[in-house]
Symmetry: D2
Subunit: 362 residues, 4 copies
């Protein structure tokens, strides 16, 4: 109830601080007899790992995931699965300069206001390092979803530079350091971010996550609508400021005629939607179309330009944030967004199974 | 767990269908000894009531709220508060035409896919009529928040016609049928919607909800961040397709320098933020600034222009939706958005009290 | 979170006070397409109804259950089911005498201590009248369990007069006003309770509830063990002071050899337990044997003999409780115990379905 | 939702198997700025540690608790507290003999029926080793309760040998290996258990846990009554078969006059109860008197006498359970019962604070 858990039937709880001995999570509600081993999880965690390109933080963490429980002879047992990553590169250093400062855009001020105490080392609990465990939990969730469901994320905007959607190529996503589906945008971003990094500045971004193969029928009206849970999932990611489904904010501009996704019967005898303004969700329930979610993240708050702020004692100060930071945190948010999609879907798949006794519409 | 409840400590559960005998909710977790009577709730419910202008559905519902429990001698007792509104104008009519049809943009298809059964009368459980109970629950939540917290909503865009934020006037909101804070936009919208209604068409909209006087410290990292819970709350509203906090999607465009809300010490000796790109939330915790949330709703799906669809038997059909509908459902979403803001804040106020033993930072 | 809900996937929330306009509940998580109508629920509620014999309260309540939502054309829809019973015989009278008194054994003192306010009319929220809605929810739960699971309760002890278990006859239970399975005990109890009532006194009792046909595999280690949830369920019934499973407290006396329920293969080729000290539960999970739960209820606290107490102002007083009370509340606790068994099993059946995709071991 | 968590506001989740690399828990909802260090937890865990006397299992585990998160500079931060104990003495051995057998009285059969897979090494998840983490979580809970609340447990019965309550001496509890408050009973038990152990047999027991200094007002009617939550807590302990509060099952025997705990005003001007049949709870809410809970545990199921059973393949077999087992698991259940009392009280203290803004009645 203090907010460190996510999900209802598929439910995970994360723990750990940026500069503590380790971070970890406990995943409860995993069905028994699913094949699972450390490399299955490591595969996804590696995609989020820091220090992989010059555009993400240079903190050197191997991010080696260990399974501590809930798996026996290569299969899940139905018992809770504890996962842990030891922190390796939590540099011991003098925090004297910043331990009492409230860095603008960071959670320093609010953690102090809420708790009256704050682990200031590397952002403590508020560090984006926590998202490594989301990715780990997401890897377990993917096992529940099975091979039929595929989840892919892409970066579609950095600063005010958007991709050209006509040039979308999923293969491209794995071949540049931005998860960018548009090759020429990726080229532009490389120049853009080098320049931004050089200035010690940062930029925001927009991420799109698409899930295919999701059966119709997932999502619980009225308050646990699939889109409502996805909105919460994405907005809970560090630095997220906006979430939209399908046409999203653009839906406000559409007329009823243009917004309606018409339906025909496809060649396979199944319903065929002629467009997807709904983003795969109607009335909070999946339609069987692709689920399309986008979220915006603000620019990294740690920048070299001095900003005015105050300290814990009410003194006015100027803050410059040095350290190993990402010029665009949005990049590493891509695998995190994918993971959050996976955990929401796994949860709702189990919920649907409980309510109706079946995984899919028949 | 089937999705009809919202909140954790302040928790309400709604029930009822559009054309059933009544709709209602049970609000649990209300602190004892708060003054509460039916008019306190009726006041807010009346703002959402249908049939109040030519721009909302002409269904005639008095929407008379009854308190059935949890209040004694004018005060809450700590017991659950049951609220009920009897449905009066649920016209009996022949549903033969639509009972097997899947109206595009509606939840007909997905309810059928999920449950294998569907109360097709007036949208059944998926009807926006359910939101009346959100407003009722929100009225109770406001009692918990007290006089220091004020929550106000406004419509800031219909179709592609946005208000001029420089002309924002909160007083204007109560004097036009659109909750529009910009008098000249309200005038334009009147003409626009008359024309849209005449064509049997509809338009989407964007709503902004602002909460002032919220103490710093509300919100639980990591997964129950205040913004994450607000995103879920707003996205759970019928027809919502996008949610953003503060600068929202525009944050993607900003540089770190421009996005940082600098802090000084105000004349009252308290922290003074020089801007509010954060929308009042940092690290998932309220800063004490205004909370600013926006959400987009799609155009009403019930339109007179025929749309292609299928029926329950897999036959291709054309659908025209007659009936009493809003040309822009976004209008009546304004009081609903305010209510959802109130219930999220009341819940987090109680959570903060549990965790720290205090309502406010000291 | 304020305690008026029970269950996780099958979850109901009750509301209402003894002398308010009505009592009710909302049952969420009911699978769609189960046949359900008011008589299905009324059947069970009638068994608990007051005023049916001279051994229960003479309050005259028809206890007519109405279904207000969640059922369409005779079937559940998956939407929340709202049930309501109007209070009819809540006599208006002068509460002057007792409104400030703390009756010994009642919840008067503790409600005042907790909430600082108390609806003193007929016990308010603390009245056993609330249990009518447990029985109603239990009736819905039975629909989920289906015909294969049967749940039966019996009164096995009043005061220190126990039944003879060798004379147990389930048919007898329906033919005496005590739900007593032993005909000669029922005769003795009739004389006993007439005498107790005459003296304005009261007696405690022990209830046994047995569920047959429960599949093996229900119950979630470690904290939501089936026996742990049953213990909570039974202990939450008004006046309950003890709960035991199978051999219960007697298990403390047994040696490991005597306690072990040995297993053979039965004629049907399935596991056959040779005894049932476990009460049908091992490691918190059902074995497929009969589930056997017993709970003790204290004597009715409302008695004619004066007892020393204090009032709200700290004055020492003497209290005599007049009114329409049961000489042995244990009698009407039998259908309530059955209902709580039903709701726990329905919840765990859905949980098992979610986790494993099947209702039963295969 | 899969059952490995306990509590609502103060909520902990345990993980780990008997013979896995480690066991652990995550405690969420701990208020910030409470002093906490590893020795504070180790102190309590040591009381439950195996191998401390000849009457408990000879497994040699140092049970060294590590705090991995949520504590900074000696104080809690409000972030989740992860605790871990590495398993040291999980002997590698040949499980060939028992891996397919269902030991009577153990959870082997039911785990297989539920999950279709089972970690058979040392009982896997069903091992009492899990209770070490309950004790650890209980140590954190005690910090929340503060010095005013004291929780003490005692063993009051082994087999059919009960203590003499007139000889109850709390000091005695710490000076014999049974947590026995009656010196002469402790002497008898020593002889009794030596003989039982020699025979390879086992006995059940009854534990009593008493909490003093608990403020009036804790517990949430109707379903989360304090006694209901305590019943669940105690029944969730391995081998528990019965729970009672105050007079418990004996309340069934009492008349209303004898059961009523009369109230006077004490010399301190506060309410003074003249007896405690209620066990400190009325209407599910604490009265301010001592909370008194008892629970019965069955005899250890691992015994040397052969018992008839079946194996995973449906073959009839005989089982003898060798290994390092407790002749009376009830002994080590004492600190576990204390811990469960602590976690229930801490949770309800936070819940009461949320609802009323105060910890105690004023």
């Amino acid at each position: 109830m203090a907010g460190n858990s996510f999900g209802t039937l598929f439910r995970f709880t994360t723990w750990g601080e940026s500069h503590g001995p380790a971070i970890g999570c406990v995943v409860d509600g995993v069905p028994p007899r699913l094949p699972l081993a450390e490399p299955d999880i490591q595969h996804w965690v590696d995609r989020r790992r820091p220090g992989q390109s010059k555009f993400t933080t240079q903190r050197r963490e191997p991010d080696q995931v260990k399974i501590l429980s809930g798996v026996f002879e290569g299969q899940t047992t139905g018992a809770p699965i504890a996962l842990m990553i030891e922190n390796v590169d939590q540099r011991t250093r003098d925090y004297g300069a910043i331990k009492d400062q409230f860095r603008p855009g960071h959670a320093d001020f609010t953690y102090q206001a809420k708790y009256g105490i704050r682990d200031y080392r590397g952002g403590g609990r508020a560090s984006a390092r926590e998202t490594a465990m989301r990715v780990a939990a997401g890897a377990v969730a993917r096992r529940i979803l099975g091979e039929d469901v595929t989840i892919k994320g892409a970066l579609i905007q950095i600063g005010d530079d958007r991709i050209n959607r006509d040039d979308w190529n999923w293969n491209e996503v794995e071949s540049n350091p931005f998860w960018c589906p548009d090759a020429s945008a990726a080229e532009r971003w490389e120049a853009l971010l080098l320049e931004v990094r050089k200035r010690g500045s940062s930029l925001g971004a927009v991420i799109e996550v698409v899930a295919s193969g999701v059966p119709a029928g997932l999502g619980d009206p009225v308050y646990d609508k699939l889109d409502a849970d996805l909105a919460k999932a994405m907005m809970s990611i560090n630095a997220a400021k906006g979430v939209e489904i399908g046409a999203g904010f653009h839906a406000a501009v559409l007329s009823g005629e243009d917004n309606a996704d018409e339906i025909r019967i496809g060649n396979d005898g199944r319903p065929l939607f002629l467009s997807n303004n709904a983003g795969g969700i109607l009335g909070g329930i999946s339609t069987g179309q692709d689920l399309v979610v986008r979220f915006a993240v603000k620019p990294t708050s740690s920048i070299l330009t001095p900003r005015r702020s105050i300290d814990r004692f009410g003194q006015e100060i100027e803050v410059v944030t040095k350290g190993r930071h990402d010029p665009c945190v949005g990049i590493r948010a891509v695998p995190v967004g994918e993971a959050m999609m996976a955990v929401v879907l796994a949860d709702h798949l189990l919920r649907q199974r409980a309510l109706t006794g079946r995984d899919k519409e028949t």
